[in-house]
Symmetry: D2
Subunit: 298 residues, 4 copies
């Protein structure tokens, strides 16, 4: 059985800090929260890999990638229909058409789908199509969205804000749980620091700290955490070793043509290699990579 950071230590100072974490605090569920999404279990002994393109670009693009990541062992498909872009002149996503394509990919592959919501007015629509609602970094303190996803029955993937402290991150999750929804997955995705050779600084300290403070599952996004595809495998291995419950990874079959985040996207081949490399590390930690249906190619 896998050892969790949260299971072996008591730090009095941290416990004091949990006063305001009435619902998300570890003491509420010392054994941790296990979330089941269409049969995929997150937060248990197995590691979950969520993979897919940054943005849904077309039916062909998403189906190609979805089939590839499934074959390599991913158990959930990601893809953005509504894209938060720094510039108003950048590609903003296919919107409802993107949601429709995600649903089609789920039908074809059986993978549950995760996609982001940017506005409370989109929520009903997104809930009709998605299995996991992503609240992105820029929305981590969009309290209107937090309240609304707290009322829907869907699993929520809450990404850490790029300058959010651990405490603020947990209080954002507290908003969702206070609304009645305890199906919350936390995601460390890199913070903003002075270092500029990487897109963000992946804060792996956050994983054991979060596991200590909360019972909720914690996954890691090395794609945004580094911004460079060739670094993603190394930080993925580190994320598994540090005790994460899973990974979320950007994969694109033609990264150079991707409408967003190409430089940080793995190809299906490099994703497949990574999955092979991760399994022995997971085993060394007493964990499995969930839902592996991989057929070795060589």
């Amino acid at each position: 059985m896998r050892q969790h950071p949260g299971r072996y230590h008591r730090d009095e100072k941290l416990i004091a800090a949990q006063g305001s974490l009435k619902l998300v605090g570890r003491p509420m569920r010392p054994g941790g929260t296990l979330i089941d999404v269409n049969g995929v279990r997150i937060g248990g002994d197995d590691l979950v890999v969520i993979a897919g393109p940054c943005a849904v670009e077309s039916e062909n693009q998403l189906l190609t990638i979805a089939k590839a990541v499934k074959a390599s062992g991913a158990s959930i498909l990601r893809g953005g229909a509504y894209k938060p872009r720094t510039s108003p002149y950048a590609f903003q996503g296919l919107k409802e058409e993107g949601l429709r394509i995600l649903a089609l990919a789920r039908q074809e592959t059986g993978l549950p789908v995760a996609t982001e919501v940017l506005d409370t007015r989109q929520l009903d629509l997104v809930c009709r199509y998605a299995d996991i609602i992503q609240v992105g970094s820029r929305s981590m303190q969009n309290f209107a969205i937090l309240e609304e996803v707290g009322k829907c029955g869907k699993t929520v993937l809450l990404k850490r804000g790029m300058s959010s402290t651990i405490e603020e991150f947990l209080l954002a999750a507290e908003y969702i749980m206070k609304g009645g929804n305890s199906r919350v997955i936390l995601c460390e995705r890199g913070i903003r620091t002075f270092e500029n050779s990487t897109r963000n600084t992946l804060d792996l300290n956050a994983v054991p700290m979060l596991k200590q403070l909360t019972h909720l599952p914690v996954i890691v996004d090395p794609s945004h955490g580094t911004g460079r595809w060739w670094m993603v495998p190394w930080l993925s291995k580190a994320a598994v070793a540090v005790g994460a419950d899973g990974l979320i990874l950007e994969v694109h079959h033609k990264p150079h043509d991707a409408l967003s985040d190409g430089p940080q996207s793995l190809t299906p081949d490099s994703f497949d290699q990574l999955m092979r490399d991760l399994r022995p590390i997971a085993h060394a930690l007493g964990a499995e990579i969930a839902h592996s249906t991989l057929v070795p190619v060589g």
Copy 2:
């Protein structure tokens, strides 16, 4: 006439950066943008002071403060009806009742009112009551709100995100202008750094940099920028000296009882003293403090 940072220098590297700033870039309006809100002009030779409580708490509270800040020379009233709070257990604002009280205070004092919107679904309602729509730090990259306020006819007060670069800040303003609304006031309010003796690090470098890059008015929020009321006068003076077009200041007649941000709120007396101290500095720079109706008390 007041000298503006944006009027006297050309930096080739910065000009190159303006490529993506199609609408907010300084070259679009080299002379700067002057915004008129019910007769109060922002972005010209005069300095505008926006003052009021963090949150609208009651009719009596807001009217007391509104009359006081008007008497001391404030020309716009601020007050939050919808409050973005880190914890779900903190006071969340009076919501529509708060908007109604703001409108009453405007009627009583003649001051235009500025208040924050947190959700696109609130926007129509807020627009019915407010003269200036504030997009707060946590919403600077809430692109749904940016697009919607780009379509309404109201003046928008856009606060810099707490870990936003200057470029991201300007691209957020570009979203609003792209929607058709050029009535945008930028507000520096402190950034998040390693330093923790103050709530935020007020980045006054941002003022001349923004004035250089954009034609939009730039104001400063020393209340959030420091988090400590006794520092506010000093940073207010600095903000005027560095070339800001105005200030936004938190004032509360009973800071110890304030439902939010008490530690950074000036009392009416300290606000009045600050206004007196600011005038000679403004004069030294060739500027006036706008709409002064102050009658010296001593």
Copy 3:
């Protein structure tokens, strides 16, 4: 008489923090420390301007600049003989020859000279030539240097480390005072943050915070704090308005040919204009710019 931030407020939390500041804490000398360097007084009602090139490059260069800054009202000359450079291939300073040229410039102009020490082995030599020993940002926690300058009789200009908290900065000064030397001037010179449109983020919050916590004089370096010469006048005005006891500014007669820091150096003309612009702001605050011997040129 000039009002100081440290003179009008008591913040219980801050006072508690002063426990470890046995010598530099404000309560040790509530009225502040006035340092006299060859007749130039720092920490009183008058503002002191230290100006000169980043590096001493030649006798002709330094004398030209020294005479110009003196004529415009600077009261202390700065110039580096030992230069801390990020790359080993960059110009490292003229070393002892630079010290000799500094002494010559003092003889010619009467201005006291400030220069940096990088190594304890240089200290005796530097003390023979300089009036003020600068401990630079990279040396703020060079405890061997702090201990040695604590034992010499010279005035020490201690610059804040680029990621130093206020508390660490004051404890570095405490090292010097513990050695027996209370002639310490603190210098805010910008901190390292995520923002990259400027070289550093000038933290003007630090000025009233330091004045509150310590009796030592506090000056500001807008040249390093911005990294861009055209921003220097704006941040200099802000530094005066925020309550600094003085400024340290880089001036070069041929910035494009400077061996270091050209992009952030004022020309003698722009320095002269800045000095003229600063005086009315200083007056508005009840202060004077020290040792003005300026003869208007037009």
Copy 4:
């Protein structure tokens, strides 16, 4: 054989950045640098663990810890004789007496010893006793020390400055190599960010980035990188998984009585458990933990 990040990818942008890295740049030695310290090889297929107390406190303390860490598989002993402390009132180290005790521990255990130098004047003395000279975070840009250790024949352990970019870190190593010494080990030890639930933010992105840019070995310090002993095992596993060449860990047999860094020190027992847990992860990556002489206790 272990795969290294530096061996499988070319990033044109990064290669361009290597222009100023004449000696430390990866292209100088594509296969990497292997450093031999008294038979311990750093930078090869095996992982090296350096362990010991933060500060040498007494003969008994150091020998107890040295024997324990050797038994658990550490191959180098660490211990500070000269301690850089933020406050002048904190324990400053045993100085030469500490060096003498380190030499004694080497004699008793056969482990090479690593210790820090804080001042150029100490260097000859430290070199007489130590096998590895540590240049600490606060000294990473102490260019006088960098130049001197570049001339000595000892192996240098260069720790990243707490707000140093990757580029500045490599240029500091370039100073040492320019002096003629290519026996340089780089150490990531956490950077300073806004996050304050941990002492520093361990930047594991830095490991593959450094391996890509330079041929020098890279180790990780999870003790300073987290500041909390119970997080150290998790981040140690992550450091191994991310491709580090080794670890440096603080171990103390009585952490509550330690004169410095107690809260981040492992006990000998928890260190032993960590070493056992690391081996299968290392194996999964094709690496060994060097010099394991561990006899299982149960």
